[in-house]
């Protein structure tokens, strides 16, 4: 039996032994490990970078008050970035499964087309969902663009859905029955969090919905302003922190039914513009563009 925490050890150990730096989760709410600067920013530019980390990912709309055996407000991703994408990356990935105790010959492991796209990050890639006996356990993506910038070299992103992967390894049907470590269930560690976060996300609190929406909107605006200011001050990383805060406020508004259709598109566009500007700042694209312009005018 591979417990959830052993699974994290095994993946960390495997990827560290293949040259990955082990990083920590970003201490800010986010919807996916891709938004961590170790992915979103490091895939930009020419320098090689290999990194692995766990990232808790919050998706308010997926909250189910701890009642659904498969859906969670917050789940954990094990994220690997390899830049440039090595020729052997599929074999490496399959070896990582073996390192977690999977006998590849006794199962049906397949790479089925599933291209990934994040409108809020101006990012997309080509790749697969990796199916383990029909269950998606990993998203495997060759990044093509991030922050609206064409990538060169190409990075590969491997995102293991830790809960789902562990459910397959432990042969359990309910995420809350997972063994976190011997004698401690996922339920013991996380169930209360799921219940309370879901109540908050869906507005079951001591405040009228409109009031909660107003607070979220105001927070969005404040974070947005702060992020823009930090960006103007050439501080890409703090700017990204507050861009992620905006994204999370937007997700909360969306989950609690606080925005209409057209407004929704407008919010997504604003976060995207911010993310693109941050990516450009980090990669120095803006500076290059300015220099080129300046030289042309000379």
């Amino acid at each position: 039996m591979v417990t959830l925490q052993q699974l994290i050890f095994k993946l960390s150990e495997f990827w560290a032994s293949r040259g990955c730096l082990l990083q920590q989760p970003l201490d800010i709410e986010m919807g996916a490990g891709t938004m961590h600067p170790e992915t979103f920013l490091r895939v930009l530019g020419p320098d090689p970078w290999s990194v692995a980390y766990v990232q808790p990912s919050r998706r308010p709309a997926d909250g189910r008050f701890g009642e659904n055996p498969n859906r969670l407000f917050k789940h954990q991703q094990f994220q690997v970035i390899l830049k440039p994408a090595p020729d052997e990356v599929q074999q490496l990935y399959l070896q990582s499964l073996e390192a977690c105790g999977i006998d590849l010959r006794a199962h049906d492991v397949r790479f089925e087309e599933d291209n990934w796209e994040s409108p809020t990050l101006g990012a997309w890639g080509i790749g697969w969902q990796v199916l383990f006996d029909g269950q998606e356990i990993t998203q495997f993506t060759y990044f093509q663009q991030a922050g609206g910038i064409d990538l060169s070299p190409i990075s590969v992103e491997l995102t293991y859905g830790l809960e789902r992967f562990a459910m397959a390894l432990q042969d359990v049907d309910n995420v809350f029955d997972l063994e976190w470590t011997a004698g401690v269930k996922y339920r013991d560690v996380r169930h209360r969090d799921e219940v309370e976060q879901s109540k908050y996300a869906f507005g079951q609190i001591d405040m009228p919905a409109a009031e909660l929406h107003r607070i979220h909107r105001e927070l969005f605006e404040q974070y947005y302003l702060l992020s823009q200011t930090l960006l103007r001050s050439d501080l890409a990383l703090p700017a990204l922190d507050y861009c992620l805060k905006c994204s999370h406020m937007f997700n909360l508004l969306d989950a609690s039914g606080g925005i209409g259709v057209t407004e929704r598109t407008a919010y997504i566009l604003r976060v995207r513009q911010l993310a693109v500007a941050i990516a450009k700042k980090w990669a120095g694209v803006e500076d290059t563009e300015k220099k080129e312009k300046a030289e042309q005018t000379k």
Binding site: N68, P84, P86, D108, E113, D133, Y142, I154, D171
Partner: protein, 731 residues
Amino acid sequence: MDRELLIEIGVEELPAAWLPGLTKQLAEKLEARLRELRMVPDVPVESYSTPRRLTGVVGRMPERQEDLDEAITGPPVSAAFNAAGEPTPAALGFAKKQGVAFDALERIETPKGTYLVARRRQRGKSAVDALPDLLTGLLRDMAFPKQMHWDAMLEDGRGELVFGRPIRWLLFLYGGRVVPYTIGRMSNAAGPLVQEVTTGAFTYGHRFLATSGRAGRSIKVRTFDDYRARLGEHFVILEHSERRDRIARELELKARKLGGRVALREHAGLVDEVADLVEYPGVVAGFFERSFLELPHEVLTTTLVHHQHYFPVLAEHGELKEAFLAVVNTSPAEERPIAKNAERVVTARLRDARFFWEADRRTKLESRLDRLHTIVFHKKLGSYRDKAERIEKLARWITEQAFGNPAEADNAAKAARLAKADLTTDMVFEFTELQGTMGGIYAREEGLPEQVWKAIYYQYLPIGVEADAPPTKAQLGPAAVTWAAVSLADKLDSVTSLMKAGERATGSRDPFGLRRQMQGIVKTLMDLPELTGVDHEIALTALVDRADPKMVGAPDGWDSAAVVAFGHDRIRYALEQRGFPLGVIRSAVSGHSADNPLRARRIAEALKALEGSEDLRALAVLFKRVKNIARELKGDATLDRAALAEPAERALLDELDARRPRVTAAAGASDYRRAFAEIAGLRAAIDRFFTEVFVMAEDARLRTARLALMADLRDLVLNLADISEIVPQTE
């Protein structure tokens, strides 16, 4: 001795949906490149594919390129030199373009004068030397629905090589020997982990399966037969058809063991698709809780088929069993470990579906209408709430006016109003492909009459244009009329309003499915009597005019004729799909039938039935003459009977008078065969007329009278169809 050429492009898993197209493309592009390189093979190029390889083989290849000896004509000598006798820029440009020194240009005498000629002679290279260019061409030519950057490049001056998926190996053999070739890597990626792809005499077998040793080692091959055999030993079945047949056999076998069967014909598309997801197919049986069978079978089937690519197992009378069959890319010693995992996914999805099924039924469709405000149909056309209102009116009008069936108008209007309500259900949010179907099922659960729920259920059909494309009359039962009204109203509204908003179907781009929807309209109208018992030949123009929505910011000069013209095109397409000869289609879809699908179909059937008629063919030829000459008639002259005195023209006039009422009556009764038979009976009289009468007489009155007679004849025929189109242009 002619030698064999074998190319295998080893790739990371290509999407299954691409493989049929890529396989075809590979053979075509390989052959085209061989021709271009003057190495035309004397056997057809064959191609194969699995998710991890694209393989091309030419059984017998020429050993060298044919020698090149071509003369390219340039500018005339008169334009090649200026007054001072120096070559003009045009002449120099020609020489440069052809890669020949100006002085080396030759001259050629033609009837039009003397021209400069660039003669290019080149001895053919040996195949081995020419083949690298072949592979470059092939790699550049392959087109993918979506391509990717993977840090690769070619040394052909064009730099980066994008492809469908990264290429991991290249097998490139000519006469059993490796043709040297390399795909380079972009400089900022290249390194110990990112290396050139170099051709070899190696392929690779199944990722995980091997009879001995570790799977995934390279396998040396010499010939195509050897290659195919070695792949077979290493658990890769190269041919799609072989994988597909194996899957079909295994499915039947496993289903029988479970005391059931698989609807292979219904799921033929799925069998083809899964055959391209695997290299070595096996089938595993899984089960789910019996209680899930309480869900509508559409939900169960969609969960299994669309979401998991699994096959439902049917009991004797077609009802679902609590079992499914999964096609896997392996031949496991133990099925249960795989099946248990597959069951976990299926159970999770069915549990979601059951939750939606229970939650959705708590809100009636009628009370969902307001929520449609929040779903945008198109930014210029408002929400689905607006659309629902439009199609409610249109469906009512179609039932009452176009179908002449006021008794069903309320049912049709109600179904149309509720048709989009299921877009607000959780089930449709999660299982998009069940839109319409779910609305119908929920309407049935609410106890709405069959005329209403089935009209909602089948609203997105028909998809195909064939006469037997679903839904069938049997499926529709008493809902046939209301269904046709709702289906037509929805599609007419979409096509007309979207085109008005500036959306068009262009080439392969048709994001709003305009073609599919117009085909649906055409097919429904074309088979209206058979489907609904309503025997009306309904013209598109009338429907489109009625559907034309009020829209803010409609473009200037908008004309709904564009929609009708689009429909005209789809009528032709539908008739083509039904196998009518092109000439018959051109005749039928003309004049008064151009915007009338049912009339066009009936005329096409009549013309096809009369195809053997000598009279009709002869008449078709004569009719072309009639049409041409009638064009000479200026203005609107009524037929001046008194002026016609020649026996041949009197005879034609009498025939025309006698047959006109019979043609009109037959056409009025939609008996086009009889109408054409009547017209074919004019042949002898027209023939005689052209032999004995000179139409363009000196006398103006006589000439006008004769031209008017021709015009009368033309109009009678054109009212039915332009039969001049049924004869090939050359006759």
